[in-house]
Symmetry: C2
Subunit: 563 residues, 2 copies
């Protein structure tokens, strides 16, 4: 088939972006090709705010026909956390038809080589980027994120994470040259001489199991890492967050077709309610890679059972912030208040346990008792969320009834330092919007341990009183070791305490943010620079993104012959 | 403690070697810093042949005290396949004492950083290299390899594989810079600025489970990959091949001590007969990495059960050579004869199934029928091994009674094209030396399938008659897919057949040697250039050596703070 997009054109168009991405992962300095500001869109073929909204609206109530083989039904019943029913239906796949069809195009995709695969991936990301406004609404109305967050985290930041994975995948594949001449001296005899060809070959079909809260941000790294390394990719979205990934699959299939490849290299596996497709797929012999974001229990299940596959999990942990001392008390409070509030704490990176000395902390505002710190933090959150419009823009909506139930139950776990309150959303009256709750617990009370040692996903934090900095550091170690952590934060002006916290993070492999008081938050990581997770503690077995995340997605086959 | 070897000295001494190794894995051209010729040793502190032999002799009947903590007994009852009892005893460890002691030095080893760890590893390899003659006898008298092979494969080639792992480990760890300054523009506002520090941290303790046949060659990659990435390494040698790895551990402990590190970063776990230590160790919570070479059944057990660890296995496969056509019939026969004879076929890379068209092959010597090919190959093996001295030098000794039993049983599986014969070894009358057997089987007979589809480790090959090249290619595919293969060979002058074979190897991830007729053999791979195994078929889940072999042995911890 004649490709509308030639390899040559794609390389000319996207090689500079790939090169910049390769440089960024090497220096880990700031870089992104994807604008964060909504107003940056609308030119050069990208949709502006109005066009993006219109495109999203036009999707509602439609059947998203991806043209996939083996489609035996149409499924989908997404209801936005903001209350609207999307009424979009998606292809339901007969897996025994779809999977073989996905393999048909793998040889050509493999033979295209790392560079062509990379620029095809960059083209997919570019087209997604152009539709960022449309994707933003899709992410908002599946995850419950507020619009601005859905726009940024679901758009440019997710695209960055996808491109980062493409860069790692490309770099890893070209570490071994395509060919080598090997000449071994044999003293006075003729040297031995071989010509060797090295080809990166895919494992097979990669499965991406999407999550409800960050369908694109958490889905793109695995999707693009597997695709760029020559694998076909089957995307099994969360049943409540299908649309953003279905659109992604649609874009990918379009680009693959135009570039002369088989569109079935990327496909969607939407499911009926309670169908539990993920287990069946993850253990299917044709599935050789699994990327998963979600609950610890199912992540552990995958690691134990999907033995025919390389399994990359991002599960959940109990994130800790040690509050020991600070020279910017106001900055600390406002930074923490934002971290606890953003997307109603529904991030795997949101702090849960705030470890505070029972006898208070030293600050630039003088000594603050445990009660003062918690009261001041409560006030900071209240201040941040005092205006309903601002609160809605920060909190988004509660994504599902389980989160709401946990939030409501949390108030019974201890003394409430900050009560959660209901916020109304004038634009979306159906949205469940709640401010965070902060509950005081005592680190010395065995009864309280069950609460702070369990992950309580949602807008719930515990201010845990501890006898000393040493106790806090030890509880940090125990928590990361037993429960894992996606993030650790700490505030301290004491070099000894700082060193002790760092040492725990190095020993337990947790990512540490120290003394953040400005516009960077412990729960946010930037692609190309920050690692998301470490892969070294129970919260995740992989990090976004490093060599380990891509190196096992392909193998290198050598063919050697005498020169 | 004051180090006798400073980091500065080690870097000055070994950085050039490391740089050359890094260049070699990038170009995959021929390179080795370790001389292959026995006469190259004896100067600059290395032991010559006589000194090496004397050093080995002096070890016999001694207790090899490594100074390890938790030593509760002395064990060892190695009997050389050449008949002599080594009577060397080794420390038996109380694991609950030894493992904690191994962790004590990890922090300093981690803080030393990738470069210092790399040059310490190079120093260990250098000292092993200086004692290559001594190690050669140790390898010979545990594996049963003939001296020259024990010298080369157990000496320089093993050291090359160790250095290759060090190079990959170093490269992987320095892909992420030690620090980064991240500055994100904020329009008219002050940019966000963070200082980030990235530290490679080890997983914990790596376990190396050694094999009987190639204790150093197969042991060094995992040992050095884990050590260079900051882990402590516990070496559990095969009970019949302890000495080469015990000496390795001794050297490593000496270098670590001199360089100011804790010697317990490397330790030995010798075991009593039938103690089955490997299972206990491999599932111990402190063991976070396992490197294993050996039987498929135990390799599969490890992959299933050592879930707390990263598990790298090299198991076994059924290696195939397709004999389709050749323009160098004599070269082909002599190359194959050597491959089948070397170390009595006791290599995981030795060809087992020779797939030959039932109606013969085209050659530069005219058409050769199936029977002519097998008879000519039998003659070539006979010619190669006709002289007893040469036969002993090539065959070495049968490593254990199981191999001998399989060899004897093989003659009953079909028509014998080449009978095995007994060779006497005048120097070591106790050695069991046997020439290879070649048995004819019919690819169309279901009864024969059980034989050629099972791994028959040892000097046993099957000449399998097939109806067509297509059938041979399909049997190759089926064999690699179901049983795995460390190597595939093929002889063909037909570009179509060649393409079909290559395609199978790419699809099933098998390493292919084409038309080898000279001094390179399908069962040999060269470090820095050839991959040993692919990690993509059932014979092994890892390749020696690539990024995937090292990338998951450490994690990167980031500490970030406002700039």
């Amino acid at each position: 088939m004649a490709a509308e997009l030639t390899a040559h054109e794609l390389i000319a168009k996207h090689r500079p972006t790939l090169d910049q991405a390769l440089e960024a992962i090497r220096t880990r300095a700031y870089w992104s090709p994807h604008p964060e500001h909504p107003k940056a869109y609308g030119e050069h073929g990208s949709l502006d705010a109005a066009a993006g909204k219109a495109a999203f609206d036009a999707l509602l109530g439609t059947r998203l026909d991806l043209g996939q083989p083996g489609t035996d039904d149409w499924v989908g019943d997404e209801v936005s956390p903001y209350g609207i029913e999307l009424e979009v239906t998606y292809p339901h796949a007969d897996i025994e038809v779809l999977l073989p069809a996905m393999k048909a195009g793998q040889r050509a995709w493999r033979d295209a080589g790392p560079e062509v695969r990379a620029v095809v991936c960059v083209e997919i990301l570019k087209r997604i980027s152009d539709r960022t406004h449309e994707f933003a609404h899709a992410v908002m109305h599946t995850s419950g994120q507020a619009f601005m967050m859905a726009f940024q985290a679901g758009g440019p930041h997710a695209q960055d994470r996808g491109l980062e994975a493409v860069a790692y995948a490309y770099a890893e594949q070209v570490r071994t040259p395509g060919t080598a001449e090997w000449t071994k001296p044999q003293g006075k005899r003729e040297p031995l001489a071989l010509t060797k060809r090295f080809t990166p070959v895919p494992r097979g079909i990669g499965l991406v199991i999407g999550c409800n809260t960050f369908p694109t941000w958490n889905g793109y790294p695995g999707l693009f890492a597997s695709l760029a390394t020559g694998n076909a990719v089957l995307v099994k979205p969360h049943p409540r967050a299908v649309l953003p990934l279905a659109l992604t699959v649609q874009v990918a299939r379009g680009v693959l077709t135009e570039a002369g490849f088989d569109p079935n290299l990327v496909a969607l596996a939407a499911e009926r309610p309670d169908e539990g497709t993920a287990k069946t797929l993850a253990t299917h012999p044709e599935i050789r890679i699994v990327d998963y974001t979600g609950s610890t229990s199912f992540g552990d299940w995958l690691e134990a059972h999907a033995r025919q596959a390389q399994v990359y999990t991002e599960k959940a942990g109990v994130n800790t912030v040690i509050v020991h001392s600070t020279d910017d008390y106001r900055g600390m409070l406002s930074n923490l208040a934002f971290s606890l509030s953003l997307y109603s704490g529904q991030m795997c990176t949101t702090p849960q346990n705030l470890l505070i000395p029972r006898d208070g902390i030293r600050t630039d505002q003088g000594h603050k008792s445990f009660d003062e710190v918690t009261a001041d933090l409560a006030r900071a959150v209240d201040g941040l969320l005092g205006d309903d419009a601002r609160a809605n823009a920060l909190l988004g909506a509660i994504v599902n009834p389980d989160v709401k139930a946990r939030l409501e139950a949390a108030a019974g776990l201890g003394e409430v330092a900050l009560a959660s309150r209901e916020i109304s959303n004038p634009e979306f009256p159906g949205a469940v919007v709640r401010t965070p709750v902060i509950v005081k617990l005592d680190g010395a009370k065995p009864d309280d341990e069950a609460a702070y040692m369990s992950e309580c996903f949602g807008p719930v934090s515990f201010a845990v009183a501890l006898d000393s900095a040493t106790d806090a550091v030890e509880l940090l170690r125990h928590t990361v070791h037993e429960k894992g952590a996606m993030t650790v934060g700490a505030y301290t002006t004491d070099p000894e305490v700082e060193r002790a916290i760092e040492e725990v993070c190095l020993e337990e492999a947790a990512q540490l943010s120290l003394n953040l008081t400005g516009g960077v938050y412990v729960n946010q990581t930037a692609a190309f620079s920050d690692f998301h997770g470490s892969g070294g503690n129970p919260a995740a077995n992989a990090a976004l993104c490093d060599g380990a995340f891509v190196a096992s997605r392909f193998r290198v086959v050598e063919v050697r012959r005498e020169a």
